[in-house]
Symmetry: C2
Subunit: 420 residues, 2 copies
């Protein structure tokens, strides 16, 4: 089964918004063995939308369209959608009642004309009823291709895909079996790794196993994928190749992972380990805490963070010694160590990570060069510290410091779990 | 001048990575008056890349291609690029020297074969020399269209666009004048606003002024755009329409803004006001601090955040009374107030914002329903508090709490500045 994703809206073309919808859609379709062959963003103009529909007509089984369903006039998707199927827009009373209810509950006011328009749908379309928002999903079939139009609001789009569209797909399509397995390697760069496994990689092609390199800070994931008839057969094939890979790079081969990032691995390990964590963040400014708390149930292992951005607050909140700052400067392993120990103490955790650095572009209070980051890691009654230079620009320095934190936690907790 | 953006890589189609490159490119091209008509992501397959090149050949002036230039085998962009121009890849010695140097400096090792391949470029191409990375940019012209291939690494791509591509464009293209102005409105929803300004909006169309609604939490931005010959004339036209709008919605019209988000407005106001800020974050888990510190120079107004995720740490770090938690529960305005006052005290700031809530999906320590968030705002010797329910899912609750924080700060600081 093949699909194309169309996102509609000038805001996507002029970079006003980041398109995360198609990321979710891509993941979901991939997971059920539907191959996304292209993803295109077009402006809110009639002829371009029509032209794009025609481009994919009978070339793919499914065209997924998001965006352009809002109430305001720069949204013409729905009219264009109806036109493409030689259909007209009619008022759907079930949707209208639903919208009326929502507006009443949320805004405590009657429907206005704009809200009413949301209940207009092409007369021949199958409505994907949007229980969580006002704009309905619409499904129409033309010749060999199913066209589905979904609202751009992420929460509503996600709901309609998993709750309404997938049941339809599973009912109407015969899906290929697809298997993905991702191997996590740590401690070797992408090009060195590629060189080491070149022959193995060639052998994959003979078996139509697709290999993708997914490098991240400090690690490279290798994703093996194959579609076919039998999940069992493909799985067996891929598992054999993974065994070969393990023998090829034993020092770097961590194992098969079902997580997408090193961070996800760390979360898994934290849960498994029962260890608790706190952070003391200066240059990372809360990024580590923010990421940890983005995961539900984080309170089981994450207790908190002292984001001591100002130098004086490192003293007031974390108990860093004035003397240490004066002697070594605020960006130093010595200060990082006292921050980590302080955080471990005030949050009463097993582990604490501290960051202090100069993300730039200006030098700020620190003597350290822009890009310098000191990270300290407190555990048991020990504290280790490290100094890095992550260069520039600012966001890259912060990101690298956060990723380095995951790497430190990953390596430490993994050893802990092994040793118990 | 028209452009299309092509991003290459399966990882974009299966949602393995979020495409932020094309966001930057879209913004940059838009800013110089180059209209991006489409943006397409295609997989790493020869025929699809060729087909996409053909789609835009002579239909746009500029095709910008990113991604698929890495050293590993799943990257075939460069070969395809050469083939499309009936050219062959040759070793570029200048690039090779540069790559050799970089590898030596970063990894302190000699070049491997993978690295060498990066210095291969089509013989007829104009090399956009990549001073900040290993993969060079390549520029080729075919008939009416300029094709530019850039590495996918954001930092390198950005460098090549601003430092190498734009000088080329300004030299070779006659650009239309383009003017955008964005009006910030607060306190009215998108559909209500659209209803109020419907006639005005119609009048824009007669003058070929494009209007885009850019709704965000708590506000709607209206972007007016027009391209033409004279910046002066267009500016005058748009300014007149904005005057009309102000008279139409005086209560909601804040003014013309050159920032993209309410957060940007808050940062501007904080700088202007000279006020200092600290936060105490529970349910937002550091998101507020992370966002504030993502901006360079934040230390001038942001002093820090106590991310007291665990209930005990609210007591230990912020001095919240055990009694208050027992009486009102951890998700309560009373606790939020004590958190805000505590943060204002330990970070010694003019303002402090505190969040405590239940982002879900589970109820955790709190009695409060999932989605409940209490926000307290401490200033001078006062503290105000508010309770909201932001529904679900988790990330939406956190996001809404953060946005509400910007709205509170925005409204307060604006009054402060006006009153002085």
């Amino acid at each position: 089964m093949k699909a194309a994703i169309i996102t509609i809206g000038d805001e996507l073309l002029i970079g006003q918004v980041v398109d995360t919808n198609s990321v979710f859609i891509g993941q979901q379709l991939e997971a059920i063995g539907c191959k996304v062959i292209e993803k295109i963003a077009v402006s809110d103009t009639f002829h371009q939308i029509i032209e794009t529909f025609e481009k994919y007509q009978n070339k793919v089984d499914l065209v997924l369209i998001t965006g352009g369903l809002g109430p305001t006039k720069d949204d013409i998707t729905k009219k264009t959608f109806a036109h493409y199927f030689n259909d007209e827009l009619v008022m759907n009373t079930a949707v209208l009642d639903h919208v009326t209810q929502l507006i009443a509950n949320y805004y405590n006011r009657p429907l206005n004309e704009m809200n009413r328009l949301q209940a207009l749908v092409p007369s021949k379309c199958e409505v994907l009823f949007n229980d969580v928002g006002t704009a309905p999903g619409m499904l129409m079939v033309k010749e060999q291709t199913v066209f589905v139009s979904l609202p751009g609001v992420p929460y509503e789009m996600k709901y309609l895909i998993t709750e309404k569209l997938f049941p339809y797909i599973k009912k109407h399509f015969q899906l290929d079996a697809i298997v993905h397995k991702t191997v996590l390697t740590v401690g070797i760069g992408e090009s060195m790794l590629a060189e080491k496994i070149a022959l193995w990689e060639d052998s994959l092609q003979l078996q139509n196993i697709h290999l993708a390199y997914l490098p991240q800070f400090g690690l490279v994931r290798l994703r093996l994928s194959k579609t076919g008839d039998s999940v069992e057969e493909i799985t067996q094939e891929i598992d054999e190749k993974i065994k070969e890979l393990q023998q090829l790079i034993p020092a770097f081969f961590i194992g098969v992972t079902n997580t997408d990032t090193l961070f996800d691995e760390v979360v898994q390990l934290l849960k498994k380990s029962g260890l608790t964590l706190a952070t003391a963040e200066s240059c990372t400014g809360g990024s580590i805490a923010q990421k940890l708390t983005s995961i539900e149930g984080a309170s089981a292992y994450f207790k908190g963070s002292a984001v001591t951005y100002a130098t004086e607050s490192k003293i007031a909140v974390l108990g860093v010694q004035q003397q240490t700052i004066e002697t070594y400067s605020v960006v130093s392993e010595e200060v990082a160590k006292e921050m980590a120990v302080g955080a471990k103490k005030i949050f009463q955790t097993d582990l604490a990570i501290a960051t202090t650095g100069n993300a730039g572009p200006l030098k700020g209070d620190a003597d350290a060069e822009v890009g310098t980051v000191c990270i300290a890691f407190a555990y048991e009654d020990k504290v280790e510290s490290f100094t890095y230079n992550f260069g520039k620009p600012r966001h890259k320095v912060i990101q690298a410091a956060v990723e380095k934190t995951w790497l430190l936690l990953y390596q430490y907790i993994r050893l802990q779990i092994k040793s118990t």
